[in-house]
Symmetry: C5
Subunit: 90 residues, 5 copies
């Protein structure tokens, strides 16, 4: 999984029917220092995240697990909202 | 998932039989600023996207979900057409 | 999926038994402009592709779908031979 | 799989219920020379790793195997703690 | 799949129980020219490869296929030892 910041959302009226009513958020992956890493992704959300929040998301088929038994066709899903993270002095 | 622009299509008369009659579009992934990110991919389409449209697509086995129960051998599939996207000022 | 050029093959007498008699081709992924993208891969072939041909291939477990019900341990498989591709002026 | 160093942890009170009580560690992938490779990831831990330890982790759905039969929605999981590694003079 | 050179091994006394007795080799992916590509990985081995040998490996869940019906938690597995490879003059 990777940390990301929710930076916006995507509106799509024509989409796969299994994606109906599933929130599509625009997220920017970040590193342990909070800086952007790579490009923005479109992720489904099952935890109620909002713009500006720091989350962590999962890639691949696992992104559809929270919607089981519906096989939502997604490869990125927000699975948690980060309260804070800690980098140890090692 | 990632946003992309449909930039063309691929014609292949000799291909896996499960890909018969499945549209093969050439897509260019884009970032939140609309600029190209990485290289073009060949994606199957189940939502009727056309050249010039902005879409979002899914990678991996999930790309074959819309064709269930047929196990289409693909790893990239367009699952929605983007009306517009919004980047929050956060 | 991604387009690639078949650039050679790999000979391996000691390999997983499920790969016996499966052609192992060396492919170089290419972009929409026909130029090389990234490094060469070893792909299984179920469509009879040959050196010099332009193909498209699938990554991941989907690469083993054409060999169903045999679970061929591969993550890259050629699933079509490209006749031509078209980039729209959009 | 890839080697990594455990550099911290992530605290998330709002998350997918299947992640409850699952340790979420922050890991930095490393190469054969022990130097950092790429960006930090959030991984689940089933072997009791702690900050400063060198581990190896698995990506993808396989990361949830140790939690079977629970389908933990993760794509990165620590599956071993490295005692030492050896690079041959070849 | 990708070609790689076996460059060493990893010793881990504390690891997922399904990895017990599974050889963990350190491999360096290589390109069609035999040069290193990217960083070293930890791969399971089911074909008896040794340090210095050129192999090809599979990424993802497919890496656990040779160990079926055991769901070994791995995402990289050596599935063949390369005798030689051939790059065509195309």
């Amino acid at each position: 999984m990777q940390m990301a910041r929710v930076i916006g959302d995507v509106v799509a009226s024509r989409k796969d029917s299994l994606l109906t009513a599933v929130p599509l958020l625009l997220i920017q992956p970040i590193g342990a220092d909070g800086q952007s890493v790579g490009h923005a992704l479109v992720a489904v959300d099952s935890v109620g995240a909002g713009a500006g929040e720091t989350v962590f998301f999962v890639r691949g088929k696992e992104a559809s697990f929270p919607f089981h038994p519906v096989d939502v066709p997604t490869d990125a899903g927000i699975v948690g909202i980060v309260d804070h993270w800690h980098v140890a002095a090692v």
